[in-house]
């Protein structure tokens, strides 16, 4: 039986870091998916985005973001499904990890898939990025896997970063 809010899988990054990770064989028995991420990249003194690829599709993703940087708000678009400026390796804050929730409603439907992402980075300084994001995967395929890749392959996702996938079951 699927409960309203069920844990599906968890992955925590070990020493050395990773460039990507994937949740494979996602059960098709839920209504929505929630992905919780506490992560940072090895990019020094810069924030680093993560890319999400449903079914490892390298195309068909688009994103619209409202972003605050600690002093001003802005909005932009990106041709991928993006968790923008999650967290870099800020030299003075080595233990700081960004926090994100990715909500994917109706992930098995035959329609294109919408993503809602709220994410924050932190820093003991003025600059830190907060993003409200809407993304679209322009595919009618059911989502069976989610691959998360560092936005710059020169900078891996660091140790202790964690990725947690949950399923939400609506009453039908």
């Amino acid at each position: 039986m699927a409960y309203t809010y069920s844990k599906i899988a968890t992955y925590t990054v070990g020493s050395g870091g990773i460039l990507s990770m994937a949740f494979l064989s996602i059960p098709q028995t839920y209504t929505d998916l929630v992905l919780k991420i506490s992560a940072k990249s090895d990019r020094p003194n810069e924030y680093q985005s993560l890319v999400i690829r449903p079914n490892n599709d390298t195309a068909n993703g688009t994103t619209r973001t409202l972003e605050g940087n600690g002093s001003a708000a802005s909005s932009d678009t990106t041709a991928s499904i993006l968790i923008q400026n999650l967290q870099g390796n800020v030299a003075t804050q080595a233990n700081v990890f960004g926090s994100a929730d990715v909500y994917i409603p109706n992930y098995t439907s035959a329609n294109y898939k919408s993503f809602s992402i709220d994410k924050v980075g932190e820093n003991n300084a003025t600059t830190a990025y907060a993003d409200l994001t809407a993304s679209l995967w322009s595919s009618t395929a059911a989502i069976t896997s989610l691959t998360i890749i560092t936005g710059n392959l020169s900078y891996p996702i660091m140790q202790y970063s964690s990725f947690h996938l949950y399923g939400i079951k609506a009453e039908v």
């Binding site: 409960y3 002093s71 709220d118 907060a130 947690h164």
Partner: protein
């Protein structure tokens, strides 16, 4: 002495023993509903066996409040950032020396959902992420807020303090634990 009742585990109505009941990933831990106006709300002895915490609140009354962990009152251990909108303009900013919990301009209440991932991971400073907002039929604000507690200690208590104003009757604070896979 507390007791556990048998629960229905499936829609078919099969009764199961208490030890067999899997309540899913999101578990209610505690709820605070002030009977009268108050200025502090505390959750103590937070169990460490969940992966994440989520605090859902309705904060009644105007004013702003702060969040403290493990009774740490050293203000330099906290920092906040925010992205907001007022209906016609957007803004962003940061504040040193505080983790702001809510900042409501309406007696009708402000809704807050706070996510605290990996709250017991001693390799991490603790990053909080809030979605919050209030509307007062003509005015209002919506925020995506973050705050940072610069400590690697596992979080065992949370204290919300009204710095200005109070938490009026009708306020509601509910803490949930969210399990990880395999837990």
């Amino acid at each position: 002495m507390s007791s556990i009742s048998l629960k229905y585990k499936s829609k078919s109505g099969n009764l199961t023993a208490p030890g067999d009941v899997d309540l899913g990933a999101m578990i209610p831990l505690a709820t605070v509903t002030p009977y009268t106006t108050t200025t502090t709300v505390e959750f103590n002895s937070v169990p460490g066996n969940y992966s994440h915490l989520q605090l859902r609140a309705l904060v009644m009354g105007s004013g702003y409040s702060t969040l403290r962990f493990n009774a740490d009152t050293t203000t330099s251990n906290y920092r906040s950032h925010y992205l907001g909108g007022q209906g016609s303009v957007t803004f962003a900013g940061s504040d040193a020396n505080a983790a702001y919990f809510a900042n409501s301009g309406s007696a009708n209440g402000m809704a807050v959902i706070l996510d605290l991932l990996d709250y017991s991971d001693t390799n991490k400073y603790k990053t909080q992420r809030y979605a919050q907002g209030w509307d007062n039929n003509g005015s209002g604000e919506v925020y995506l807020t973050s705050s940072l507690w610069m400590s690697t200690a596992a979080i065992t208590s949370l204290k919300i303090t009204a710095v200005t104003g109070t938490f009026a009757s009708g306020s509601h604070f509910a803490l949930y634990g969210i399990k990880r896979a395999g837990a």
